[in-house]
Symmetry: C2
Subunit: 215 residues, 2 copies
Protein backbone atom coordinates (compact mmCIF):
# COMPACT_ATOMS: atom_id res chain seq x y z
CA UNK A 1 0.00 0.00 0.00
CA UNK A 2 2.72 2.54 0.79
CA UNK A 3 3.90 2.31 -2.82
CA UNK A 4 0.96 4.59 -3.48
CA UNK A 5 2.45 7.05 -1.04
CA UNK A 6 5.93 7.17 -2.43
CA UNK A 7 5.76 6.14 -6.03
CA UNK A 8 4.34 8.82 -8.32
CA UNK A 9 4.75 6.55 -11.35
CA UNK A 10 1.99 4.21 -10.19
CA UNK A 11 -0.51 5.63 -12.67
CA UNK A 12 -2.39 7.65 -10.08
CA UNK A 13 -0.24 10.73 -10.29
CA UNK A 14 -2.72 13.22 -8.94
CA UNK A 15 -3.68 11.00 -6.00
CA UNK A 16 0.01 10.57 -5.17
CA UNK A 17 0.54 14.30 -5.50
CA UNK A 18 -2.24 14.92 -2.96
CA UNK A 19 -0.70 12.41 -0.53
CA UNK A 20 2.74 13.92 -1.00
CA UNK A 21 1.51 17.49 -0.42
CA UNK A 22 -0.64 16.46 2.54
CA UNK A 23 2.32 14.81 4.29
CA UNK A 24 4.54 17.79 3.64
CA UNK A 25 2.00 20.31 4.94
CA UNK A 26 0.87 18.18 7.91
CA UNK A 27 4.49 17.79 9.00
CA UNK A 28 5.08 21.51 8.69
CA UNK A 29 1.89 23.01 10.09
CA UNK A 30 0.19 20.07 11.80
CA UNK A 31 -3.02 18.34 10.78
CA UNK A 32 -5.30 20.94 12.35
CA UNK A 33 -3.31 23.80 10.88
CA UNK A 34 -3.59 22.53 7.29
CA UNK A 35 -6.62 23.06 5.05
CA UNK A 36 -7.78 20.83 2.19
CA UNK A 37 -7.49 23.90 -0.02
CA UNK A 38 -3.81 24.31 0.87
CA UNK A 39 -3.18 20.65 0.08
CA UNK A 40 -4.96 20.87 -3.28
CA UNK A 41 -3.08 24.06 -4.18
CA UNK A 42 0.28 22.55 -3.24
CA UNK A 43 -0.50 19.39 -5.21
CA UNK A 44 -1.71 21.39 -8.22
CA UNK A 45 -5.05 19.60 -8.34
CA UNK A 46 -8.65 20.69 -8.12
CA UNK A 47 -9.94 20.72 -4.53
CA UNK A 48 -12.86 18.45 -5.52
CA UNK A 49 -10.36 15.72 -6.33
CA UNK A 50 -9.37 15.45 -2.65
CA UNK A 51 -12.98 14.68 -1.75
CA UNK A 52 -13.22 12.32 -4.72
CA UNK A 53 -10.18 10.29 -3.69
CA UNK A 54 -10.38 10.45 0.09
CA UNK A 55 -13.77 11.88 1.07
CA UNK A 56 -12.11 14.91 2.68
CA UNK A 57 -9.37 15.64 5.19
CA UNK A 58 -10.39 12.98 7.75
CA UNK A 59 -10.45 10.36 5.00
CA UNK A 60 -7.00 11.45 3.86
CA UNK A 61 -5.75 11.09 7.45
CA UNK A 62 -7.24 7.60 7.73
CA UNK A 63 -5.69 6.63 4.40
CA UNK A 64 -2.23 7.76 5.54
CA UNK A 65 -2.49 5.96 8.87
CA UNK A 66 -3.77 2.73 7.30
CA UNK A 67 -1.15 2.87 4.52
CA UNK A 68 1.61 3.11 7.07
CA UNK A 69 0.40 0.31 9.32
CA UNK A 70 -0.45 -2.09 6.47
CA UNK A 71 3.08 -1.73 5.12
CA UNK A 72 4.63 -1.83 8.57
CA UNK A 73 2.83 -5.01 9.61
CA UNK A 74 3.56 -6.62 6.23
CA UNK A 75 7.27 -5.89 6.83
CA UNK A 76 6.99 -7.37 10.31
CA UNK A 77 5.27 -10.52 9.06
CA UNK A 78 7.67 -10.93 6.15
CA UNK A 79 10.70 -10.52 8.40
CA UNK A 80 9.26 -12.97 10.88
CA UNK A 81 8.57 -15.49 8.14
CA UNK A 82 12.01 -15.11 6.58
CA UNK A 83 13.83 -15.45 9.88
CA UNK A 84 11.66 -18.17 11.43
CA UNK A 85 14.29 -20.82 10.74
CA UNK A 86 17.18 -18.77 12.14
CA UNK A 87 18.85 -20.81 14.83
CA UNK A 88 19.08 -17.93 17.30
CA UNK A 89 16.16 -15.97 18.70
CA UNK A 90 18.49 -12.99 19.09
CA UNK A 91 19.19 -13.05 15.34
CA UNK A 92 15.48 -13.05 14.66
CA UNK A 93 14.86 -10.05 16.90
CA UNK A 94 17.66 -8.13 15.24
CA UNK A 95 16.63 -8.93 11.68
CA UNK A 96 13.02 -8.00 12.31
CA UNK A 97 14.11 -4.70 13.87
CA UNK A 98 16.30 -4.00 10.87
CA UNK A 99 13.43 -4.58 8.45
CA UNK A 100 11.15 -2.28 10.42
CA UNK A 101 13.78 0.44 10.64
CA UNK A 102 14.40 0.24 6.90
CA UNK A 103 10.68 0.43 6.24
CA UNK A 104 10.42 3.56 8.36
CA UNK A 105 13.48 5.09 6.71
CA UNK A 106 11.91 4.48 3.29
CA UNK A 107 8.68 6.22 4.39
CA UNK A 108 10.39 8.67 6.72
CA UNK A 109 7.87 11.54 6.63
CA UNK A 110 4.90 9.22 6.67
CA UNK A 111 6.32 7.33 9.66
CA UNK A 112 7.04 10.48 11.56
CA UNK A 113 3.59 11.87 10.93
CA UNK A 114 1.80 8.64 11.87
CA UNK A 115 3.77 8.06 15.08
CA UNK A 116 3.10 11.61 16.16
CA UNK A 117 -0.64 11.33 15.43
CA UNK A 118 -0.70 8.11 17.45
CA UNK A 119 0.28 10.04 20.58
CA UNK A 120 -3.12 11.75 20.47
CA UNK A 121 -6.13 10.38 22.28
CA UNK A 122 -9.08 10.27 19.89
CA UNK A 123 -11.49 7.85 18.28
CA UNK A 124 -9.35 7.10 15.21
CA UNK A 125 -6.23 6.47 17.30
CA UNK A 126 -8.14 4.14 19.60
CA UNK A 127 -9.43 2.19 16.61
CA UNK A 128 -5.97 1.92 15.04
CA UNK A 129 -4.59 0.70 18.36
CA UNK A 130 -7.26 -1.96 18.75
CA UNK A 131 -6.55 -3.23 15.27
CA UNK A 132 -3.01 -2.62 14.00
CA UNK A 133 -1.14 -2.20 17.28
CA UNK A 134 -2.90 -5.17 18.84
CA UNK A 135 -1.79 -7.21 15.85
CA UNK A 136 1.76 -5.86 16.20
CA UNK A 137 1.77 -6.94 19.85
CA UNK A 138 0.45 -10.37 18.87
CA UNK A 139 3.16 -10.84 16.22
CA UNK A 140 5.93 -9.67 18.55
CA UNK A 141 4.67 -11.93 21.33
CA UNK A 142 5.22 -14.91 19.07
CA UNK A 143 8.89 -14.00 18.67
CA UNK A 144 9.39 -13.15 22.33
CA UNK A 145 7.85 -16.41 23.47
CA UNK A 146 10.57 -18.13 21.48
CA UNK A 147 13.15 -15.74 22.98
CA UNK A 148 12.09 -16.50 26.54
CA UNK A 149 11.32 -20.15 25.87
CA UNK A 150 11.85 -22.26 28.97
CA UNK A 151 12.75 -19.28 31.16
CA UNK A 152 10.69 -18.53 34.16
CA UNK A 153 9.70 -14.93 33.41
CA UNK A 154 6.42 -13.50 34.58
CA UNK A 155 4.05 -12.17 31.88
CA UNK A 156 4.65 -8.54 32.82
CA UNK A 157 8.41 -8.93 32.28
CA UNK A 158 7.73 -10.27 28.79
CA UNK A 159 5.34 -7.41 28.11
CA UNK A 160 7.91 -4.85 29.20
CA UNK A 161 10.50 -6.46 26.94
CA UNK A 162 8.08 -6.19 24.00
CA UNK A 163 7.33 -2.56 24.88
CA UNK A 164 11.02 -1.73 25.06
CA UNK A 165 11.78 -3.49 21.78
CA UNK A 166 8.97 -1.71 19.97
CA UNK A 167 10.05 1.55 21.51
CA UNK A 168 13.61 1.14 20.20
CA UNK A 169 12.24 0.48 16.72
CA UNK A 170 9.82 3.42 16.71
CA UNK A 171 11.68 6.11 18.64
CA UNK A 172 14.09 7.36 15.93
CA UNK A 173 11.06 8.12 13.75
CA UNK A 174 8.87 9.61 16.45
CA UNK A 175 11.65 11.86 17.76
CA UNK A 176 14.18 12.23 14.94
CA UNK A 177 14.97 15.84 15.79
CA UNK A 178 15.94 14.84 19.35
CA UNK A 179 18.56 12.46 17.96
CA UNK A 180 19.66 15.11 15.46
CA UNK A 181 19.86 18.05 17.80
CA UNK A 182 21.15 16.43 21.00
CA UNK A 183 23.18 13.47 19.67
CA UNK A 184 24.00 14.65 16.15
CA UNK A 185 22.62 11.42 14.69
CA UNK A 186 20.70 11.30 11.40
CA UNK A 187 17.85 8.77 11.68
CA UNK A 188 17.02 9.09 7.98
CA UNK A 189 20.54 8.05 6.85
CA UNK A 190 21.41 4.42 5.98
CA UNK A 191 24.48 4.61 8.26
CA UNK A 192 22.22 5.29 11.23
CA UNK A 193 20.38 2.03 10.59
CA UNK A 194 23.67 0.09 10.60
CA UNK A 195 24.80 1.60 13.91
CA UNK A 196 21.43 1.38 15.57
CA UNK A 197 20.94 -2.25 14.59
CA UNK A 198 24.32 -3.05 16.14
CA UNK A 199 23.04 -1.56 19.37
CA UNK A 200 19.81 -3.56 19.16
CA UNK A 201 22.00 -6.65 18.76
CA UNK A 202 23.73 -5.88 22.08
CA UNK A 203 20.31 -5.57 23.68
CA UNK A 204 18.99 -8.77 22.08
CA UNK A 205 22.11 -10.67 23.18
CA UNK A 206 21.58 -9.52 26.77
CA UNK A 207 17.93 -10.49 26.75
CA UNK A 208 18.37 -13.88 25.10
CA UNK A 209 21.50 -14.91 26.98
CA UNK A 210 19.52 -14.75 30.16
CA UNK A 211 21.30 -11.82 31.71
CA UNK A 212 17.75 -10.66 32.37
CA UNK A 213 17.09 -11.24 36.05
CA UNK A 214 14.46 -13.81 36.78
CA UNK A 215 11.95 -13.18 39.52
CA UNK B 1 8.08 26.03 39.20
CA UNK B 2 5.56 23.29 38.45
CA UNK B 3 3.91 23.96 41.79
CA UNK B 4 2.37 26.90 39.99
CA UNK B 5 0.94 24.50 37.45
CA UNK B 6 -0.69 22.09 39.83
CA UNK B 7 -1.37 23.91 43.05
CA UNK B 8 -4.29 26.33 42.77
CA UNK B 9 -3.77 27.39 46.40
CA UNK B 10 -0.48 29.14 45.64
CA UNK B 11 -2.02 32.59 45.82
CA UNK B 12 -2.18 33.13 42.07
CA UNK B 13 -5.51 31.47 41.57
CA UNK B 14 -6.44 33.04 38.24
CA UNK B 15 -3.00 32.38 36.75
CA UNK B 16 -3.24 28.77 37.86
CA UNK B 17 -6.75 28.53 36.48
CA UNK B 18 -5.47 29.71 33.07
CA UNK B 19 -2.66 27.13 33.13
CA UNK B 20 -5.06 24.40 34.18
CA UNK B 21 -7.59 25.25 31.43
CA UNK B 22 -4.87 25.63 28.82
CA UNK B 23 -3.45 22.17 29.56
CA UNK B 24 -6.90 20.60 29.49
CA UNK B 25 -7.86 22.22 26.18
CA UNK B 26 -4.44 21.70 24.53
CA UNK B 27 -4.58 18.00 25.42
CA UNK B 28 -8.10 17.72 24.03
CA UNK B 29 -7.97 19.83 20.90
CA UNK B 30 -4.24 20.40 20.34
CA UNK B 31 -2.35 23.66 20.64
CA UNK B 32 -3.35 24.93 17.19
CA UNK B 33 -6.96 23.97 17.71
CA UNK B 34 -7.32 25.97 20.94
CA UNK B 35 -7.95 29.72 21.09
CA UNK B 36 -6.94 32.10 23.87
CA UNK B 37 -10.62 32.99 24.15
CA UNK B 38 -11.56 29.35 24.81
CA UNK B 39 -8.88 29.13 27.51
CA UNK B 40 -10.05 32.34 29.20
CA UNK B 41 -13.69 31.21 29.07
CA UNK B 42 -12.85 27.80 30.53
CA UNK B 43 -10.76 29.39 33.27
CA UNK B 44 -13.46 31.95 34.04
CA UNK B 45 -11.09 34.89 33.63
CA UNK B 46 -11.00 37.93 31.39
CA UNK B 47 -9.17 37.29 28.13
CA UNK B 48 -6.86 40.27 28.79
CA UNK B 49 -5.49 38.45 31.81
CA UNK B 50 -3.93 35.78 29.57
CA UNK B 51 -1.95 38.47 27.77
CA UNK B 52 -1.12 40.09 31.08
CA UNK B 53 0.29 36.90 32.60
CA UNK B 54 1.83 35.21 29.59
CA UNK B 55 1.91 37.70 26.72
CA UNK B 56 -0.47 35.52 24.67
CA UNK B 57 -0.74 31.92 23.55
CA UNK B 58 2.91 31.49 22.52
CA UNK B 59 4.02 32.86 25.89
CA UNK B 60 1.71 30.42 27.65
CA UNK B 61 3.22 27.57 25.64
CA UNK B 62 6.75 28.68 26.53
CA UNK B 63 5.77 28.95 30.20
CA UNK B 64 4.38 25.39 30.22
CA UNK B 65 7.43 23.95 28.48
CA UNK B 66 9.90 25.78 30.74
CA UNK B 67 7.91 24.87 33.90
CA UNK B 68 8.07 21.22 33.00
CA UNK B 69 11.76 21.11 32.18
CA UNK B 70 12.86 23.20 35.17
CA UNK B 71 11.07 20.82 37.50
CA UNK B 72 12.20 17.76 35.59
CA UNK B 73 15.88 18.75 35.63
CA UNK B 74 15.66 19.75 39.30
CA UNK B 75 14.32 16.24 40.04
CA UNK B 76 17.14 14.74 38.01
CA UNK B 77 19.80 16.79 39.80
CA UNK B 78 18.30 16.13 43.23
CA UNK B 79 18.10 12.40 42.59
CA UNK B 80 21.65 12.39 41.32
CA UNK B 81 22.87 14.28 44.35
CA UNK B 82 20.99 12.08 46.82
CA UNK B 83 22.20 8.86 45.22
CA UNK B 84 25.79 9.93 44.50
CA UNK B 85 27.12 7.93 47.42
CA UNK B 86 25.18 4.76 46.57
CA UNK B 87 27.64 1.92 46.23
CA UNK B 88 26.13 0.57 43.05
CA UNK B 89 25.78 2.45 39.77
CA UNK B 90 22.75 0.29 38.99
CA UNK B 91 21.03 1.54 42.15
CA UNK B 92 21.72 5.10 41.10
CA UNK B 93 20.21 4.58 37.65
CA UNK B 94 17.11 3.01 39.13
CA UNK B 95 16.57 5.65 41.81
CA UNK B 96 16.97 8.50 39.34
CA UNK B 97 14.49 6.84 36.97
CA UNK B 98 12.03 6.44 39.84
CA UNK B 99 12.27 10.12 40.75
CA UNK B 100 11.70 11.16 37.15
CA UNK B 101 8.74 8.82 36.74
CA UNK B 102 7.17 10.13 39.95
CA UNK B 103 7.69 13.69 38.78
CA UNK B 104 5.94 12.93 35.50
CA UNK B 105 3.12 11.12 37.30
CA UNK B 106 2.60 14.16 39.52
CA UNK B 107 2.39 16.44 36.47
CA UNK B 108 0.82 13.88 34.20
CA UNK B 109 -1.07 16.14 31.77
CA UNK B 110 1.73 18.67 31.65
CA UNK B 111 4.28 15.91 30.92
CA UNK B 112 2.16 14.42 28.22
CA UNK B 113 1.59 17.75 26.55
CA UNK B 114 5.25 18.78 26.69
CA UNK B 115 6.60 15.46 25.37
CA UNK B 116 4.15 15.60 22.50
CA UNK B 117 5.07 19.19 21.61
CA UNK B 118 8.74 18.18 21.66
CA UNK B 119 8.13 15.81 18.74
CA UNK B 120 7.49 18.86 16.54
CA UNK B 121 10.22 20.56 14.59
CA UNK B 122 10.07 24.29 15.21
CA UNK B 123 12.13 27.14 16.63
CA UNK B 124 10.91 26.79 20.22
CA UNK B 125 11.53 23.03 20.27
CA UNK B 126 15.03 23.51 18.86
CA UNK B 127 15.78 26.07 21.57
CA UNK B 128 14.46 23.84 24.35
CA UNK B 129 16.56 20.97 23.01
CA UNK B 130 19.73 23.04 22.91
CA UNK B 131 19.16 24.13 26.49
CA UNK B 132 17.18 21.68 28.63
CA UNK B 133 17.73 18.45 26.73
CA UNK B 134 21.42 19.15 26.28
CA UNK B 135 21.64 19.62 30.02
CA UNK B 136 19.69 16.40 30.59
CA UNK B 137 22.16 14.56 28.36
CA UNK B 138 25.07 16.12 30.24
CA UNK B 139 23.66 15.06 33.62
CA UNK B 140 22.91 11.53 32.45
CA UNK B 141 26.37 11.22 30.91
CA UNK B 142 27.86 11.79 34.36
CA UNK B 143 25.94 8.82 35.76
CA UNK B 144 26.61 6.59 32.78
CA UNK B 145 30.33 7.31 32.88
CA UNK B 146 30.28 5.88 36.38
CA UNK B 147 28.17 2.95 35.15
CA UNK B 148 30.60 2.09 32.37
CA UNK B 149 33.69 3.03 34.35
CA UNK B 150 36.70 0.99 33.27
CA UNK B 151 34.79 -0.81 30.51
CA UNK B 152 35.96 -0.49 27.00
CA UNK B 153 32.75 0.79 25.38
CA UNK B 154 32.88 3.07 22.38
CA UNK B 155 31.21 6.51 22.78
CA UNK B 156 28.29 5.59 20.51
CA UNK B 157 27.43 2.60 22.70
CA UNK B 158 27.29 4.89 25.73
CA UNK B 159 25.12 7.37 23.82
CA UNK B 160 22.69 4.64 22.81
CA UNK B 161 22.48 3.46 26.42
CA UNK B 162 21.62 7.03 27.48
CA UNK B 163 19.04 7.32 24.70
CA UNK B 164 17.43 4.04 25.72
CA UNK B 165 17.38 4.97 29.39
CA UNK B 166 15.80 8.34 28.70
CA UNK B 167 13.34 6.69 26.37
CA UNK B 168 12.22 4.26 29.07
CA UNK B 169 11.68 7.16 31.47
CA UNK B 170 9.75 9.32 28.99
CA UNK B 171 7.75 6.80 26.97
CA UNK B 172 4.90 6.07 29.43
CA UNK B 173 4.10 9.80 29.42
CA UNK B 174 4.52 10.39 25.71
CA UNK B 175 2.39 7.38 24.77
CA UNK B 176 0.21 6.59 27.81
CA UNK B 177 -2.77 5.55 25.70
CA UNK B 178 -0.65 2.94 23.90
CA UNK B 179 0.15 1.31 27.24
CA UNK B 180 -3.48 1.64 28.28
CA UNK B 181 -5.11 0.36 25.14
CA UNK B 182 -2.69 -2.37 24.08
CA UNK B 183 -1.21 -3.55 27.40
CA UNK B 184 -3.94 -2.48 29.84
CA UNK B 185 -1.39 -0.63 31.95
CA UNK B 186 -2.18 2.68 33.69
CA UNK B 187 0.90 4.95 33.55
CA UNK B 188 -0.73 7.51 35.83
CA UNK B 189 -1.22 5.00 38.70
CA UNK B 190 1.34 4.60 41.52
CA UNK B 191 1.34 0.81 41.00
CA UNK B 192 2.58 1.31 37.44
CA UNK B 193 5.63 3.15 38.77
CA UNK B 194 6.47 0.26 41.13
CA UNK B 195 6.24 -2.34 38.35
CA UNK B 196 8.02 -0.24 35.76
CA UNK B 197 10.89 0.61 38.10
CA UNK B 198 11.36 -3.11 38.75
CA UNK B 199 11.75 -3.56 35.01
CA UNK B 200 14.25 -0.71 34.80
CA UNK B 201 16.18 -2.47 37.57
CA UNK B 202 16.46 -5.59 35.39
CA UNK B 203 17.77 -3.41 32.58
CA UNK B 204 20.22 -1.55 34.83
CA UNK B 205 21.52 -4.84 36.26
CA UNK B 206 22.16 -6.12 32.74
CA UNK B 207 23.94 -2.97 31.70
CA UNK B 208 26.08 -2.60 34.81
CA UNK B 209 26.95 -6.28 35.21
CA UNK B 210 28.67 -6.12 31.88
CA UNK B 211 26.31 -8.36 29.98
CA UNK B 212 26.52 -5.58 27.40
CA UNK B 213 28.72 -6.83 24.61
CA UNK B 214 31.99 -4.98 24.22
CA UNK B 215 33.25 -4.19 20.77
Amino acid sequence: MPTKVANPASGKKSKDAVVHSALKLFNMGGYDGTSVRAIATDAGVNIALVSYYFGGKQGLLEYLMASFFEGYLASLEDAQHETARQASAADQLVMIAEQLIRYQQRYFYLSRFVHREMTLDNQLVRELMSSYLMKEKFLLERVFKKVFDGRNLNPVQIEFAIIQYRDMVIMPFLQPQYLRKVFFMQPSEPSFCTQYVRYIRDWADQVTKGCQKQK
